[in-house]
């Protein structure tokens, strides 16, 4: 090995905005899969997932079981961390900053402050700047996304309606966010102040989005993706990647479906490849019609 190279000034800084947001940039174009066991995590990794979300029950089972849904058992999360080399995410309840502290102490790579779990605080989300571990948060519109970013979120996912296998809400939320951004781009400087008030978001972030024409952090889609075509649809609508929850391990052939969704996410604009990926996948998860869901069972309305 050559030994004549210059060295660096050893003053490394961890937990910076660039390191947190940059981590999400590395996930772009990829699929993040919900897993409940180390075996499922390995299947996901082998299928080409860019990260896994470690949790005790997938959203479809949380719906079925009812009761309070909380952070997962640390043993279970650690088992998944040990099983794979890709990043591991885990969920805390909204506003439950102690669950988030525990997840950080366990060494997860990203914390999802998630509406899929039962909210712990009906007013406040966690202060995400207080953590070294980056956060991803759900949003149904631009104002909600910017409020989460103002609290320190380093990645946003459109919420959709988790555990339904129905992509309709994911589409609604992604169109809303992209539509809100497009409307901002048409405003002049005077109008941006009123827009910030309307969006209930900090003016600085609103002005930044108007200039960039996109969020200042990575935007994924979540909540109801069950097929390769669903994943490609969300990407064509502007998602930079997708979360797939119940859709993989509640289906007939999880390994095959997982690999197919990964392929369709990369070649989201190539219908021939999506067609090939969609062949003979076995049964998709059964799914729920969102318009028959009672309001109190809608996760997307949690968080504000």
């Amino acid at each position: 090995m050559s030994t004549t190279s210059p060295s660096t000034s050893p003053t490394p800084e961890t937990g910076t905005a660039r390191v947190k947001r940059g981590m999400a940039e590395q996930l772009k174009g990829g699929v993040i899969m919900d897993v409940v066991t180390p075996e499922q995590a390995k299947i996901a990794e082998d299928a080409g997932a860019v990260a896994v979300m470690a949790l005790e029950r997938v959203p479809a089972d949380i719906r079925k079981d009812g009761g309070v849904a909380r952070m997962s058992d640390p043993d279970m999360i650690e088992g998944i961390i040990d099983a794979v080399s890709i990043p591991v995410m885990a969920k805390s309840r909204i506003g439950h900053f102690v669950e988030a502290q525990v997840l950080q102490a366990l060494g997860v790579d990203y914390i999802d402050e998630s509406e899929v779990l039962t909210p712990a605080d009906e007013v406040n989300h966690s202060d995400k700047f207080a953590f070294t571990t980056p956060f991803v948060c759900g949003a149904t519109n631009l104002g909600e996304a910017l409020r989460r970013i103002a609290e320190g979120a380093a990645m946003i996912r459109s919420k959709g309606e988790a555990g339904t296998g129905n992509v309709v809400e994911a589409v609604r939320h992604m169109r809303q966010i992209k539509g809100d951004i497009a409307r901002l781009k048409g405003l002049d400087n005077h109008e941006l102040y009123a827009a910030a008030k309307e969006l209930r978001a900090p003016y600085e972030l609103v002005a930044e989005v108007a200039e960039l024409g996109k969020l200042p952090v990575v935007l994924f889609s979540a909540g109801g993706v069950a097929t390769p075509a669903d994943a490609a649809l969300m990407r064509q609508l502007g998602a930079e990647g997708v979360f797939v929850g119940s859709g993989i391990f509640k289906s007939g052939d999880p390994a095959k479906r997982a690999a197919a969704i990964v392929k369709a996410t990369t070649f989201f604009d190539d219908p021939k490849i999506i067609a090939d990926a969609s062949r003979n996948l076995g049964e998709a998860m059964v799914g729920i019609n969102c318009d028959t869901l009672p309001d109190e069972e809608r996760y997307a309305s949690r968080g504000w």
């Binding site: 190279s5 210059p6 961890t14 660039r18 981590m23 080409g48 890709i86 990369t266």
Partner: protein, 196 residues
């Protein structure tokens, strides 16, 4: 040749940032996902991302052999983070079936600097990049465990090699594409011009 055509392997990862950095460095930058797109570029960037995902997708879509062939024929290539892993002849701790393109005589250790909580920024002096250190953004970054005779270590952090050059191939464990400082991409664009 003033405007080299430089592709960015666009299977997964921070493709947009590399395209922007290459454009900033005066290259004609374009995304590459198919063998016929690979055939049209003078040089290629392999972006940051998940190395296992990029490797699997390259195999699944028939890109791995064409990539090896072009690198073998002397096409200049630059890899950051996951891209560094893809250009390594050997991975110390590969996942089962994880293939690399290879080309740089080095062994890399994945996630060597730790998990996300250990991800960091630090100033890095890079041999061949003038104007002071670059801002090194290290995200679950690999380091180079050892290099063979042909590979030159051009940056070190905390005693570990974090940038290597071998002939027309360049690799960094950090992500210059996330910083807005295009000097590393300019160095690569110069390598592509020189090779033409």
């Amino acid at each position: 040749m003033s405007n080299p055509v430089i592709g960015v392997l666009a299977l997964q990862g921070d493709v947009r940032e590399h395209l922007a950095a290459l454009a900033g460095a005066g290259a004609d930058a374009r995304a590459v996902r198919r063998p016929e797109e690979l055939a049209e570029v003078d040089g290629l960037v392999i972006p940051g991302g998940e190395s296992t995902t990029i490797s699997k997708l390259a195999s699944a879509f028939g890109l791995l052999e064409p990539l090896r062939a072009r690198v073998g024929e002397g096409m200049p290539a630059y890899g950051s983070c996951a891209g560094m892993i893809m250009l390594a002849d050997k991975i110390l701790d590969p996942r089962s079936g994880q293939e690399t393109i290879g080309g740089i005589d080095m062994i890399v250790r994945r996630n060597a600097f730790g998990r996300q909580n250990e991800s960091f920024e630090a100033a890095v002096e890079v041999t061949g990049v003038d104007g002071g250190p670059v801002e090194g953004v290290f995200i679950r970054a690999p380091w180079v465990e050892s290099t063979g005779a042909g590979a030159e270590v051009i940056a070190v952090h905390d005693g570990h090699p974090v940038a290597v050059r071998q002939g027309r191939l360049l690799a960094t464990a950090f992500h210059p594409e996330l910083t807005g400082d295009h000097r590393v991409h300019e160095m690569f664009a110069q390598m592509v011009r020189a090779a033409a």
